[in-house]
Amino acid sequence: MKKNRFVFRTVILLILVGALAFTLYQNFFTETEKVEIGKEAPDFLVTDMNGSKISLSDLQGKGVLLNFWGTWCKPCEKEMPYMNELYASYKEKGIEMIALNADETEIAVKNFVNQYGLTFPIAIDKGQEILNTYGVGPLPTTFLIDASGTVVEQITGTQTKEQLEEYIKGIVPK
């Protein structure tokens, strides 16, 4: 009798608290980040400013630094030259960099690329589809993807050259 009561009350309380926990979990812990660290990076296919096609799935075996940026974004502007310098020294070590512009005009992107003499692949994310797929909020946002295609890190905001280099070292294929 007493035992029944205890079991009954415990079960009811567990169901009620479980429902509450589920609701809170759904509301606060899912969908905040569409790309999860430790999960596979969503594939994409873009055409860069030189007209060559780049897809993430073709870059398996390389460490990939994926940067989202815009010409109006001053922090992005500051970061680009660092990436350019690092690209030169890490390309041979199996690092690829891709900078995806948030749906601006070709002329704006082209001028920007020429102004800073950027040598790594840059593409325009038409309609911001990739940006949305990756759930990017503020610019710049950078994803570091290792040789197996897994997201290792998501960085928001400008990085110093040293910080960026540390991150890149972490995804150099062994």
Binding site: L16, L24, N27, D43, T71, I107
Partner: protein, 540 residues
């Protein structure tokens, strides 16, 4: 000690206030005060047993006092949320942290810092709502079960102290004929009459006692439906902005559906078009001021095959539809509602190449502001190259021309103009009402020749598979309310004690109606109306 045995032989759960069967009070038997008939004097278990942690939590939520406080706190919190606009209703592109402080001062800053800007989706608000739900379930369970048992076990023959301490009570020397007439009257008035050794219990409307619990079941189903909105795939509430000519993925459909905005139309009531009788009505607001229609001519596409982000998927047209206010485009379980619009966003700019001395014009060139061409050939050796483009032009801290956003709010251009007389080209910086030349010696300039604008539409993407559960919960809620409100649980006891007839009555509400009914039941006899003790107390 699990049970208490009454003199009458009935075994009651411990904590019972008066015997389920005969109604003999277990405490203060000789007291003359009114018997507390709440829950039929049944033992609420939560109060009786309070040993383990589970029992303690249970009895906390079992308290009606706690439940009412939870409701009051939730009401106050909900009210606070309406003092300033919630974050989702702020104008687009403002920073909430600054907006609240700028608009509402210190109060606004505090409001934001306390997290009231997103009050209704905050964790503590959700916990409050859920606590009300828990309180409902436990309060109900804790009361309905003992109440049901007590009413089921009630005996016909009652202890004299039970009768004496009812609110309606009277003693008379009625004859056997009187009692027979009363019995017939009771049956006529749809009372369920039980007789046990001459003693009578007439009862009706016990059904009414379950009203509050039915009502709570409805509420719990309603809350469950609200909770289901958080289950992926059950509920979508998104917004999509589409400029004319644009095609975009419909959010919430996982890339399956795309929508194209062919045209956005806003119509107004104008005197020229409407019948004369409406002139006065139109004048009251102003001609062409009253909106008549907001409409998006939309085309719905379905993506075919697998899609990779960044590549245009193959699309199959599903349907086209004229979306108007309250006339949504429906597909699968989705509906697209017309919610907002923006008129006159710059889309194209026309510029002439003009000879400064002769004012002779060439062109114009058409610059597509969303993605401008770089070279414009005007024939006969006249051509223009676009060197730079700033859609939302301003001078940055270093004095360099820059763009604030990528939206063409304030477009500016750097053109290089080539003519037969200036084969090396001249550079000119052109913004709205500005024309800057590096050297100031140009022979030609670019002059503004016109603009083309386009409209944008905003649609709400809505999917709600929880609606029927909410409707079901609401219906059961209403049934419970009606059940509890429009029926009364009335009981009349008649017993022969010491050669006299004792009559006692109890109802769960509407004592006035009950007294009137008893009067009718007693009509045709000499039995006097039982006294209403509460009424007498009030008068004296």
């Amino acid at each position: 000690m699990e049970h208490v045995k009454c003199q009458c032989g009935h075994v009651n759960p411990v904590g019972t206030f008066f015997c389920e069967a005969c109604g003999k009070p277990f405490q203060h038997e000789e007291s003359a005060s009114l018997l507390d008939m709440k829950y039929e004097g049944s033992a609420r278990r939560s109060i009786t047993y309070n040993k383990t942690l589970v029992d303690k939590v249970w009895s906390f939520f079992s308290s009606v006092k706690v439940g009412i406080w939870l409701i009051v706190v939730t009401l106050v919190a909900s009210a606070i949320g309406t003092v300033l606009p919630q974050e989702m209703y702020l104008p687009p592109a403002v920073t909430p942290s600054e907006y609240y402080a700028d608009q509402y001062g210190v109060f606004g800053k505090m409001y934001y810092d306390l997290g009231f800007n997103n009050l209704y989706s905050s964790w503590w608000y959700m916990i409050l709502l859920a606590s009300i739900g828990i309180s409902l379930v436990i309060c109900s369970l804790d009361r309905v079960v003992p109440l049901y048992k007590a009413l089921k076990n009630q005996g016909v023959t009652r202890h004299r102290s039970f009768l004496k301490r009812q609110r309606l009570f009277g003693v008379s020397s009625a004859t056997t004929e009187d009692i027979t007439i009363i019995q017939e009257n009771l049956i006529k008035r749809r009372y369920h009459v039980r007789i046990e050794n001459e003693n009578i219990l007439a009862e009706k409307g016990r059904f009414s006692r379950w009203g509050p619990y039915v009502n709570h079941i409805g509420l719990i189903i309603f809350l469950f439906g609200a909770m289901l909105r958080f289950v992926p795939g059950m509920y979508v509430d998104e917004a999509i902005w589409l400029r004319e000519g644009e095609t975009k993925e419909i959010p919430g459909t996982d890339g399956k559906y795309y929508l194209k905005n062919e045209k956005f139309i806003k119509e107004v009531y104008s005197k020229e078009e409407e019948d004369k009788v409406f002139d006065e009505a139109i004048d009251r607001v102003g001609n062409s001021m009253i909106p008549k229609n907001y409409q998006t001519n939309a085309v719905l596409y379905e993506a075919v095959g697998s899609t990779v982000a960044g590549q245009e998927p193959k699309m199959k047209k599903v349907t086209d539809y004229k979306i108007r206010v309250n006339d949504p485009l429906k597909f699968e379980s989705f509906a697209l509602y017309q919610t907002d619009y923006k008129e006159g966003e710059l889309s194209k700019m026309f510029l002439h190449l003009e000879d400064k001395t002769t004012s002779e014009k060439y062109g114009p060139i058409e610059v597509n502001l969303a993605n401008p061409e770089e070279k414009y050939d005007l024939g006969n050796g006249y051509r223009v190259e676009l060197l730079s483009y700033f859609p939302d032009f301003y001078f940055d801290e270093e004095g360099k021309p820059s763009t604030k956003t990528k939206v063409p709010n304030n477009p500016a251009f750097v053109f290089k103009m080539f003519t037969p007389t200036t084969p090396d080209g001249e550079v000119s910086f052109v913004a709205i009402r500005q024309n800057i030349e590096p050297a100031g010696t140009n022979k030609y300039k670019m002059t503004f020749a016109g603009i083309e604008t386009r409209n944008a539409t905003a649609l709400t993407v809505r999917k709600d598979l929880t609606l029927w559960i909410l409707a079901l919960g609401g219906t059961i809620f209403m049934i419970g309310v009606i059940q509890g409100m429009y029926w009364n649980h009335r009981r009349i006891w008649m017993q022969r004690i010491d050669g006299e007839w004792w009559i006692a009555g109890h109802t769960n509400k509407n004592w006035y109606g009950f007294r009137n009914e008893i009067e009718k039941v007693l009509s045709g006899t000499d039995v006097p109306q039982p006294e209403d003790k509460v009424l007498i107390e009030k008068i004296s």
